[in-house]
């Protein structure tokens, strides 16, 4: 009897009530809202890329693809080629990552696993505090303190011992790509290590305990269990660091020497895409000049895209060997 009346009730329910029932938990709304948020962020980036594209037609008309491979940047004769900057950006960012990632991981591991309890908080704070130092201060400190005291002697040493390698040729000046790479490495350290530390701390204790119970040494636990588990998060941290390195303007401009010469040498001054924009945008006085600078920003956009794709493919390959619990 009861079942029959219930069935009648259900049949007479209107569509509106069905809809209300679907929405009553708020989940659909939640999903829509978050999707909208994601879409907004995505659209923002598309708009930025589009604006950059829209505001730089002249160099594409005049130079086409040559813009990417020519090395002549001459505002007076109106010849613009972006290759030295692309090379400089790639070289300094990759070198910065090479210096920073192992050290950051070391710090993160130390902070999360090895440091005695009383040391963790202060050390963690100091590392995060480094992120608070303004880029201008890094530039000033780099130029007047770090380069003379540290980078210069190392550069001289590299030059005398390994000077035959194309990577270490050339006269040794103060500001150079090596200085820029080192300063960038210092600047991205806090980002990568703070986030990696949090990633490592968030890994459940059960994973650690399981590894240790199976007889792994501490290092093996970290290397074979924690790092793969946290790979996605750590990669996120590294990419944030890479992003910062690619886009860092102020500090790099002050320590890289701003020289257009095309050598592979780390000890030679160089130039990055962000620096040329910072140096010349305010003074660019005619359309082709301004638009060429905007085109460089667009090229940087694309370079970041390509580097990120490569990183993603690399991780996907490594991740395939990792158990399903981990989401990449």
């Amino acid at each position: 009897m009861f079942a029959v009346s219930q069935a009648k009730q259900r049949a007479s329910q209107s569509r509106w009530q069905t809809l209300k029932r679907h929405l009553q938990h708020g989940d659909v709304l939640f999903r829509v809202l978050t999707a909208l948020g994601a879409l907004t962020v995505f659209m923002l980036i598309v708009i930025i890329g589009y604006e950059l594209w829209l505001n730089s037609p002249l160099p594409r008309e005049k130079f086409g693809w040559r813009f990417l491979v020519e090395s002549e940047w001459n505002p007076v004769t109106q010849e613009f080629g972006a290759f030295p900057f692309i090379f400089g950006t790639l070289q300094t960012s990759v070198m910065a990552l090479i210096f920073a990632v192992p050290v950051s991981l070391g710090i993160a591991i130390f902070l999360a696993e090895l440091a005695p309890a009383w040391l963790r908080q202060p050390l963690g704070f100091i590392v995060e505090l480094l992120a608070a130092v303004p880029s201008v201060v890094y530039g000033l400190w780099g130029l007047f303190v770090f380069i003379p005291a540290f980078v210069r002697p190392i550069a001289e040493l590299l030059h005398t011992t390994l000077g035959f390698l194309p990577l270490f040729t050339g006269p040794v000046y103060g500001p150079s790509r090596l200085s820029a790479s080192l300063i960038l490495a210092i600047m991205i350290l806090p980002t990568i290590s703070a986030v990696s530390r949090d990633v490592l701390l968030a890994i459940p204790a059960s994973q650690r305990e399981a590894a240790l119970a199976l007889g792994a040494t501490r290092w093996e636990m970290i290397w074979r269990v924690l790092l793969p588990y946290g790979l996605s998060g750590i990669l996120g941290a590294v990419i944030l660091g890479l992003g910062r390195a690619l886009g860092e303007t102020m500090a790099v401009t002050m320590v890289i020497g701003n020289n257009l010469a095309l050598t592979a040498s780390l000890l030679h001054p160089g130039y990055t895409m962000a620096s040329i924009i910072a140096n010349e945008f305010a003074e660019a006085t005619y359309e082709l000049y301004i638009q060429s600078l905007i085109q460089i920003a667009l090229v940087l956009f694309v370079v970041t895209l390509v580097l990120n794709s490569i990183a993603r493919v690399l991780v996907w390959r490594v991740a395939r060997r990792v158990p399903t619990e981990v989401r990449i």
């Binding site: 939640f30 930025i48 902070l111 980002t191 968030a202």
Partner: protein
């Protein structure tokens, strides 16, 4: 297979060496960090006085002066940036964490990584193009927008990763108890991830609080005290930049002192936020 003593010795050696290297890495890293901090404190501490926090900047040759307008200005601009970017980043991160393999999720992650690589000056120019030019007016609001765009990827990425790291059983337990998805997210998953999320927010705030390049084309700077969102406004990193590139020694000293003020304020903000987070978690019964 029998336990091989030679293998074990090697594993122990590798263990010792790698752990020592980690300690060494920390030392190598903390050293320049402390070096910069000590330098900033040392150079900046010379001229630090109460008047530095309460007076307006003075021109060259006129002694004294302070950066009160820049302190308030930075607070306003960073406040606008946070108000714009944090909600958006959290919402988008929730989507990306919940639906990592959908087309929108993958593209979003990609796009965020690309955005984090855009130089701050380009973002400043972008904000200039879409806000300052149409309004024919430099303003604190445009500065806030530029900083929000810079902050967005940092907060988004970190939040997303932290949410993904919350153990599944917490989420599943909550859902099994009948909580809806959004309740689970807001009252279980997020609080579990909150420390990492706060790290991300703090890193973002620290980064944008120190960005001078975007301010040049948006907030513009202002030697006077102003709280008007639609007028140019002074910010601490911009003042540091202006002081540092000047030809005058006393302005160089002011640059270091302003840097000290900035670093101290961000550190203070960091401490306060962590305190509040810990207190809130305790209130919700997490500790």
């Amino acid at each position: 297979m029998m336990w091989n003593p030679a293998h074990y010795q090697r594993r122990k050696l590798v263990n010792a060496v790698m752990l020592a290297l980690c300690g060494l890495a920390t030392l190598f890293a903390v050293a320049p960090l402390l070096w910069i901090l000590v330098y900033v404190f040392q150079e900046g501490g010379r001229h630090l006085s109460l008047q530095f926090f309460t007076e307006l900047p003075t021109p060259v040759g006129v002694p004294g002066g302070g950066v009160v307008n820049a302190i308030v200005g930075s607070a306003i601009v960073v406040g606008i940036a946070c108000a714009l970017s944090i909600p958006l980043a959290l919402v988008a991160a929730m989507y990306a964490a919940e639906h990592p393999n959908t087309p929108l999720g993958v593209t979003l992650r990609f796009a965020t990584d690309v955005l984090s690589g855009v130089p701050s000056i380009v973002i400043g120019i972008f904000a200039y193009t879409i806000i300052v030019l149409p309004q024919k007016q430099f303003s604190a609001f445009s500065g806030g927008v530029a900083l929000a765009i810079i902050m967005l990827p940092i907060v988004l990425r970190t939040t997303e990763e932290m949410i993904k790291l919350v153990p599944r059983h917490l989420r599943e337990g909550s859902l099994a108890l009948g909580a809806s998805e959004w309740k689970t997210m807001l009252q279980v998953t997020l609080p579990a991830a909150i420390n990492g999320v706060v790290t991300g927010i703090m890193l973002g705030v620290a980064r944008v609080a120190g960005e001078a390049a975007p301010m040049i084309f948006t907030a513009f700077g202002n030697p006077f005290f102003s709280t008007d969102v639609n007028q140019p406004i002074a910010t601490l990193p911009h003042m540091i930049f202006v002081y540092a590139i000047s030809p005058y020694k006393d302005w160089h000293a002011k640059a270091w002192t302003t840097a000290l003020v900035l670093v101290t304020l961000v550190l203070g903000l960091n401490i306060v936020t962590r305190l509040i987070t810990a207190w809130q978690l305790k209130r919700m019964g997490w500790r």
